[in-house]
């Protein structure tokens, strides 16, 4: 614990902290090494005051409020007087069902994919400009996206929830999007789904999603295609093979024109496709996340006490190349002797490390990471 705190102090003595917009209207909160509780309701009137606080205390976790208040240091919400809040999207591996089983590096790659989906929603559908959004690596298992467009700041929690529901597809009325039409035939009506990829909103997204997905399936070998189809929830081998067999060239052409006939199987892929196209923001329905108008988020430039990685700003254009285990690492190469509790493998600073139980000599950055995660002692 002392080692970590010492290292954090070293970092904060020369750290580059990014001050949140409306810096002095925010509430700050900290958790110290070796303490359970959170120190809350702190405000700073000057930037220097925040810097010297960090230097002096070297907190394990540092947060600020997404909301800004008239009196950020008041003890109750009522006395604080809410003035507005950034819109925050918290993308975390914990919220993605498939990510949680993966090793740390792979987990982060998956969260990044969710972030790319989110950005497409925010820019194409909501029309936000790149300059309205900031993306941060959280230092832990995810990324945050802050939207601070002036019109968004004053939105209440219900309006925010509508935005969250939009990107997560909650409450999406599928019948309204993939409209089923009955075309009378000789003996009975033929059912056709009509889709329009040129449309905006979820209708267009779903249409493009269905077309792209089916084209992808069509161009695959039979076995692979069926396997891919069966990855979708609720699709068995029978449905998958009959679906694959039905994808003739002519049929794909009709689908590209927005007509899906004999729609029974297609209806079954619609719901799992929505899951694929939407952003995984939370694992359960009642979690108070982005909709919340008052929450704490990690301070950019501060260190995450459970990884030793820095909360790092990521330029939207550079998200693709961003590698947290290189770009959010702040400690040096100096060798440190640590006691490893169990074998562990990770790629950090573009070096692959495989450490076994017992005493190992590793670079300082890896030592900090392993100790923060509780995988090693000194």
């Amino acid at each position: 614990m002392n080692f970590l705190k010492k290292k954090f102090t070293e970092y904060y003595s020369k750290a580059d902290i990014e001050f949140p917009p409306r810096f002095d209207r925010r509430e700050y909160a900290f958790i110290f090494f070796g303490e359970g509780g959170m120190h809350r309701h702190i405000s700073f009137l000057s930037r220097d005051a925040l810097i010297s606080y960090l230097k002096k205390n070297s907190p394990a976790h540092s947060y600020y409020s997404s909301a800004y208040y008239r009196h950020p240091d008041a003890a109750t919400m009522r006395e604080k007087e809410w003035m507005g809040a950034d819109l925050i999207f918290d993308l975390d591996a914990d919220h993605i069902p498939d990510a949680i089983k993966l090793p740390y590096e792979k987990m982060l790659v998956m969260v990044k994919k969710e972030m790319e989906k989110l950005l497409s929603f925010l820019m194409d559908d909501f029309g936000f400009d790149k300059k309205d959004m900031r993306i941060y690596f959280s230092g832990g298992r995810g990324y945050h996206c802050h939207v601070s467009h002036p019109d968004v700041i004053s939105l209440g929690s219900q309006e925010r929830r509508e935005i969250v529901d939009y990107v997560t597809a909650r409450g999406l009325n599928i019948k309204g999007i993939v409209k089923e039409k009955s075309i009378p035939k000789e003996y009975f009506a033929d059912k056709t789904i009509e889709i329009d990829p040129r449309k905006g909103g979820w209708s267009g997204r779903m249409a493009r999603g269905i077309i792209d997905f089916l084209k992808e399936i069509k161009n695959m070998e039979k076995e692979k295609a069926i396997k891919k189809l069966m990855e979708l929830e609720g699709i068995g081998e029978k449905t998958a093979s009959s679906l694959y067999a039905s994808l003739s060239d002519e049929r794909i052409k009709r689908i590209e024109d927005g007509k899906i006939d004999q729609s029974r199987e297609f209806k079954r892929i619609a719901i799992p496709l929505i899951k694929k196209l939407s952003v995984s923001l939370h694992s359960s329905a009642d979690e108070p996340v982005t909709g919340d108008i008052k929450r704490l988020i990690r301070l950019p430039g501060s260190l995450h006490g459970k990884t030793g990685l820095r909360v790092t700003k990521v330029e939207i254009n550079e998200l693709q190349e961003f590698n947290p285990l290189r770009d959010a690492v702040v400690f040096g190469e100096e060798k440190v002797r640590v006691m490893i509790k169990k074998p562990f493998s990770i790629e950090m600073m573009e070096n692959r490390f495989r450490v076994n139980e017992g005493v190992n000599e590793v670079p300082e950055y890896l030592a900090v990471f392993l100790m923060a995660r509780g995988l090693a002692t000194i």
Partner: protein, 345 residues
């Protein structure tokens, strides 16, 4: 030639005035109507007691009574300038009566009825007109598209059809039908009128001019408020989803729209009164009595005319609100759960 020109100018002036007045008569809450009334320089005593304004007073009282009795204000035929002027003046008269009643219920009913009347007219206007009206409320429109932030302020998103996710949103704008635009403006108008009336004081002379009408309104309202309850609701028979929603609401967890919708429709179906339902919501973190009451009244059909039924189990499940127990296996609707369990007692 010269005379012709004069005649044309006169006609233009007359026509312009006429159009403006007819617009103000239809939409007396717009800022230009208020300015016009101000410019006319008529004193309150004149409006309340002068013979000239007799018709305006009659129509003003009618506005309030219709709002209370039927929830809407009927249009009257307006043919000439004098008709328009009386119609315009009847609006401030009605507002004075409403405020003098001192009842929040009357203010709510009246704002809603005025906004509904505006809706009926607005949906028949052209898009340019609707755009101009929207600008009056700071709503940003672009042809038949509305900026999503303004949409969210006014859309009744507890109704699945109005949820943002079911709208065609592109580059921050939502394409809407004319009647939908009019519906959103209705809500903006209602909010504006309501908040204006909430902070307005009646002139002292109002009692002299409309004393008996105000008394009549007060009597009517207290009768409504004392409406007796039909059945005692027993919370022990609630299904787990409803119990869960109630405890979440009471403990201050922010419950999503669909959850509130489920809860209100369920309690309403059991015959609970609006005030009782409101009480459950009062410990919610963002409790706003006005807004919540409006939503409850909307959902229960008090003001919308549609009495929504509680969602089926299937729907509740897709909303992620279902936490089934043994009895749930046998039913497909939360109300069946209640009936089944009560019968078993």
């Amino acid at each position: 030639m010269y005379y012709k020109f004069i005649a044309l100018m006169f006609f233009k002036w007359f026509y312009f005035n006429f159009v403006e007045l007819s617009v103000m008569a239809k939409y007396p809450f717009i800022s230009s109507a208020r300015e016009w009334v101000k410019k006319e320089g008529v004193r309150v005593e004149e409006i309340l007691f002068d013979e000239i304004y007799e018709r305006a007073r009659g129509r003003g009282a009618e506005r309030v009574m219709q709002a209370l009795e039927r929830g809407l204000i009927k249009d009257v035929p307006l043919l000439e300038e004098a008709d328009f002027i009386m119609e315009i003046f009847s609006y401030p008269v009605a507002r004075m009566i409403v405020v003098a009643s001192g009842s929040d219920y009357v203010i709510r009913r009246y704002s809603l009825a005025e906004s509904k009347r505006a809706y009926e007219n607005l949906k028949n206007e052209n898009i340019e007109f609707i755009e101009r009206m929207a600008a009056e409320f700071g709503i940003r429109m672009n042809g038949n598209r509305m900026y999503f932030v303004d949409y969210l302020r006014y859309a009744p998103t507890w109704d699945i059809k109005w949820k943002l996710v079911n709208r065609e949103l592109r580059k921050g704008e939502i394409i809407l039908e004319k009647h939908e635009l009019a519906r959103l403006l209705q809500e903006a108008i209602r909010k504006k009128i309501y908040s204006e009336l909430l902070y307005m004081y009646p002139p002292p002379e109002i009692k002299k001019a409309f004393g008996d009408i105000i008394e009549k309104i007060k009597a009517k309202v207290s009768f409504k408020e004392e409406k007796e309850r039909i059945d005692e609701v027993d919370a022990r028979f609630f299904p787990p989803c409803i119990k869960n929603l109630i405890s979440a609401t009471k403990s201050g967890v922010n419950v999503p729209h669909v959850g509130r919708f489920t809860l209100v429709t369920f309690l309403n179906a059991l015959g609970m009164s609006i005030d009782e339902i409101l009480k459950i919501f009062s410990s919610s973190p963002d409790f706003n009595p006005e807004k919540t009451r409006y939503q409850i009244e909307h959902i229960t059909g008090k003001i919308s005319g549609t009495d929504y039924t509680p969602p089926k189990c299937d729907t509740i499940r897709t909303w992620g609100l279902c936490f089934p127990d043994e009895i749930c296996k046998r039913i497909r609707h939360p109300l069946s759960y209640y009936r089944l369990k009560r019968r078993r007692k």
